[in-house]
Symmetry: C2
Subunit: 481 residues, 2 copies
């Protein structure tokens, strides 16, 4: 029998050192591995299967908005990227550049896409002529490259996978509606698949997308009290339309610039989910995203084999109609090793089946989130498991919601603000006057940035947490991952 | 009403100029467009939807072989690529190279993956320790870059999309079985989704994969008589295992190198399919890959609207349970314009529904492949259409099979060989002694290369078509795309 490579004892405690715990879990659960290029990672089957689940679920929601998938080239001529001034300024420090192709130096350097606005909108200008061509709504699933200084698996890698949606509309109102609709799709995806609560709102000028008009976001709170931008939806106004001359003839024959949006969700969101739901035993995968929902481990001596196999066959046949289920019948490993292996990998439910379970027509269930075992009758097992999986989803989402609630403080005193950011961090709701200098100073002194201003914000009377000038809006502040 | 942009009359005749016809169809059917980087293209929604259908169908077949999906980095350090000597020699002329990242010159240039053997097997060396870790079977769907001199939409683009499967095994027999199994999966995909017949066999040393031991292939015949390599499956032997030190401890405790395979199918295969099935009216999409199988065009005057809409609602509800169907109810375009539009795009079936169809409880069917119209009773419509779609698949496949048969000639005289290659081209079955010099001379003099040696080849006695030395094997020759 092989040695238990996946002993829980080798994992650092999550509370003691979140970063070390996550790095160890990523390896132990065979989610990903470091690749031979600095800052990149390999998605191993278990990690990639999670992304496939995200693609499958989110793609349906995106198509539900009348958006169609496309694929645009990886390489963007530098001159194209430079057309929208603040866009290129925002991305310039992170670019990877191809200078040679086919053994020759290129006449113009090519940038490996950090995002695809520029190359897409160069084509929009060609495709859009009339109001009849609007709205144009497309999406692509692809890899992008941003040359990050400090990298970390899933959360910040030089290359990552994402979807980027891009739309063009005849009016600003319609574009604004699309921005909202895309963010609502992300909220739904996070709630129903990631089992995650988060905060939504509007970004400050300093934190918005480079080249856009307004950025809205969905952010989650990591266990160490830092906020993670999990998805964004941008109102691009007409900035790119002007730079790329994306014009249309309206219904009365006049030329107008289109109104645009873009919105994206990346593999970084997976990282946040894994970090939030995991525990000292390894991962816990929300059932809706788990590549496997039920792992079955048979336990038998040689003579019992055929009886137990027949029981398993019928059990699997019943479950696989609606659940993602597998029997781990490898003879090379002990049941104990298998328990460990699938616990670290975060499979929500485990069934143990031995002679006793067969004789008494029951199953022994292990619930990965509560770590509790209980016997269930074999009869009606599928419906029972579905109920428990639903309960796991709901409880995981609820835990993340309570954590945000608990870690969100309303603060009016800058000294207190500083102390919180120096210790337990979390989200702070505080008045900010809107002056970018205050925002910049707060960042320098506390590492906290404005995360967003909630959408449904009632105007109050208060004073800026930094400069004490009158202020009417309470913003979310946090240290960002 | 807008002008019919998609007039069939604008298409060159396929027979007169295949290349001009295809370029025009790609644009008219909104499959793809030229991007602002030389040799790249944009997959527009209609073109990308085809690739999604390929992904969906082929991914199932691949997973059916026990293969799991992964994702490896886009960038490969040049030193890693250089580890397998003939591999890097084969790919060197086609590499795109990243020399700068994050504003700085990189210490080591990074190659944009032309294929992923080297970066994957560097990881295999880390993951594989024991016979228990074998077989290792993975696949990835991704973009790759090969700096081609002359490019052409779908068939040869600087960047293309593909899947690449990679496996490692304990024995050569097992690896050989995997090579066969992957090729069988491609044959199934081509037959059941692309509706394409082709030839299969083993590549010559000159034509095999750079760094591999043996390459097997599936090739189709384009309408201009050139052969297109549509998918390949390679036996890599232990070449890469030695270069990357991918070793395992066998069951008796000895260290051995693994035996490896790799196999891929790219968007190029889509290009071949589109070119083969299309006609002077535009595309014909095989129903199994068509993003839409049935387009419904309503024809009515204002007063008839509600009756017809109710008829359509029920019709769609019935069909969409099993077919990909859409109603084109845009009021901005005439029915005639819509007929044209969907014919160019190659939707297999069109239903026209007007007052008369509603009153007489029937539908008017237009079949894109035969260009014939007929009335069908409304009752049992779904089963009728399914039968016709199945018939279209079978007939398309049969046409491509007959074309290959007709265009395959057994030739024993080099003068005749040259004449055929100078005129109608097609496949030639001819004896070849196996000497690479003869193969090279034939290529220089006729542009024809060996395409493959059929698997089930009975040894015959003959003489090499070029040098007249004794030869025992008849090879397929053709000009390659």
């Amino acid at each position: 029998m092989t040695k238990a490579k996946f002993s829980k004892k080798q994992l650092p405690r999550k509370k003691d050192d979140l970063s070390a715990w996550f790095l160890a879990v990523v390896q132990a659960a065979e989610l990903a591995d470091y690749a031979p290029v600095r800052g990149t990672m390999v998605f191993r089957p278990w990690g990639y299967a999670l992304w496939e689940r995200v693609q499958e679920s989110l793609d349906k929601l995106i198509k539900g908005m009348g958006v169609e998938n496309t694929y645009f080239p990886l390489f963007i001529p530098l001159s194209l990227l430079e057309k929208e001034k603040s866009h290129v300024e925002g991305f310039a420090p992170e670019l990877a550049v191809v200078t040679h192709g086919g053994g020759e130096k290129l006449a113009e350097p090519l940038v490996v896409r950090p995002t695809s606005e520029t190359i897409m909108y160069a084509m929009f200008a060609k495709w859009i002529k009339s109001w009849r061509d609007l709205p144009l709504k497309i999406n692509q699933w692809c890899n992008v490259v941003r040359w990050e200084k400090r990298t970390y698996p899933f959360l910040r890698t030089t290359e990552f996978l994402w979807q980027e949606g891009h739309t063009a509309h005849a009016t600003h109102e319609e574009a604004e509606e699309q921005v909202r609709e895309a963010l609502a799709v992300y909220e739904k995806e996070f709630a129903e698949y990631f089992a995650l609560a988060g905060i939504t709102g509007i970004k400050s000028e300093a934190e918005k997308f480079a080249g856009g008009l307004k950025t809205t976001c969905f952010e989650v709170l990591l266990p160490d009290g830092r906020a993670l931008q999990a998805a964004t939806s941008h109102d691009l106004g007409q900035n790119f339309a002007r730079a790329f001359e994306v014009k249309f003839q309206n219904q009365v024959g006049e030329e107008e610039f289109v109104w645009q949006t873009s919105w994206g969700l990346s593999t970084r969101a997976l990282g946040g989910m894994l970090m939030i739901h995991g525990d000292d035993q390894g991962l816990f995968l929300p059932p809706a995203l788990a590549p496997l929902q039920v792992i079955i481990v048979p336990i038998f001596s040689e003579g019992e084999k055929s009886v137990i196999e027949e029981y398993l066959r019928q059990l699997v046949r019943e479950l696989e109609a609606e659940l993602r289920v597998r029997v781990d019948d490898r003879s090379s490993h002990t049941p104990g090793w298998k328990f460990n292996y699938w616990e670290v990998k975060g499979v929500p439910l485990r069934l143990e089946i031995g002679r006793r379970e067969v004789e008494e027509e029951k199953v022994l269930l292990f619930r990965r989130d509560t770590l509790e075992k209980e016997y269930l009758p074999r009869r009606g097992i599928k419906e029972q498991l579905k109920t428990i999986l639903g309960d796991q989803m709901q409880q995981a989402r609820e835990r993340s919601r309570r954590f945000i609630e608990k870690q969100t403080r309303e603060v009016n005193d800058y000294q207190e603000f500083k102390e919180i950011m120096a210790e337990e961090r979390g989200l702070i709701r505080a008045f900010w006057c809107g002056n970018p200098d205050c925002e910049a100073q707060i960042k320098t002194e506390t590492k906290a940035t404005t995360r967003c201003r909630p959408f449904a914000l009632e105007k109050e009377k208060g004073h800026c947490i930094y400069c004490r000038q009158p202020a009417q809006e309470r913003w979310y502040f946090a240290q960002a991952y």
